[in-house]
Amino acid sequence: MRAAAAQRTQTSSLTYLLCAVAWFVPGAGHLWLGRRQKGIVFLVALTLMFVFGLWLEGRLFPFDMEQPLVALSAIADLGVGCPYFIARLMGVGRGDVVAITYEYGNTFIIAAGLLNMLVVLDVFDIAKGRK
């Protein structure tokens, strides 16, 4: 089921606002466009994935430009939006390098961020009337 709002081509500024909202709250862009089922699935799945990564002792990487892979990981982490900032404010995500689940946790956190970036691109396509 699609709401009429989702079928109209959005104006350019609204499209970018939609993308920003979709990035900040996973699934919010789809919810805004009336695609409730997709929005709720993204909100739950991506947030859970991120939390799971933190629970597995994953690390929120710093923006260290001297280590390009760390910087890229930081960008991927940031992709999940609001949960990233909440985790930072709560002081979690320091990561425990010696934990056996450390790399698994990082994978969950990074993948959640990258998947949310794909979700943002989907919102952009829908808003532009391509889907």
Binding site: A45, L46, L48, L118
Partner: protein, 50 residues
């Protein structure tokens, strides 16, 4: 691996398919593919030294 495959399959299926039935079928295929490929690659790497 199974939990990771589950999350990624759900997101990809919902992202690329609009019909709920198609989402379930595609998600299940994707999940099976991820888990199957993981087990297969694991066994292929088994004889290699660490």
């Amino acid at each position: 691996m199974i939990v990771f495959s589950l999350f990624v399959s759900i997101v990809f299926a919902v992202l690329t398919r609009d019909d709920p039935k198609e989402q379930i079928v595609f998600g299940a295929r994707l999940f099976g593919g991820f888990v199957g490929a993981g087990i297969l690659i694991g066994w292929l790497l088994y004889p290699l030294p660490l």
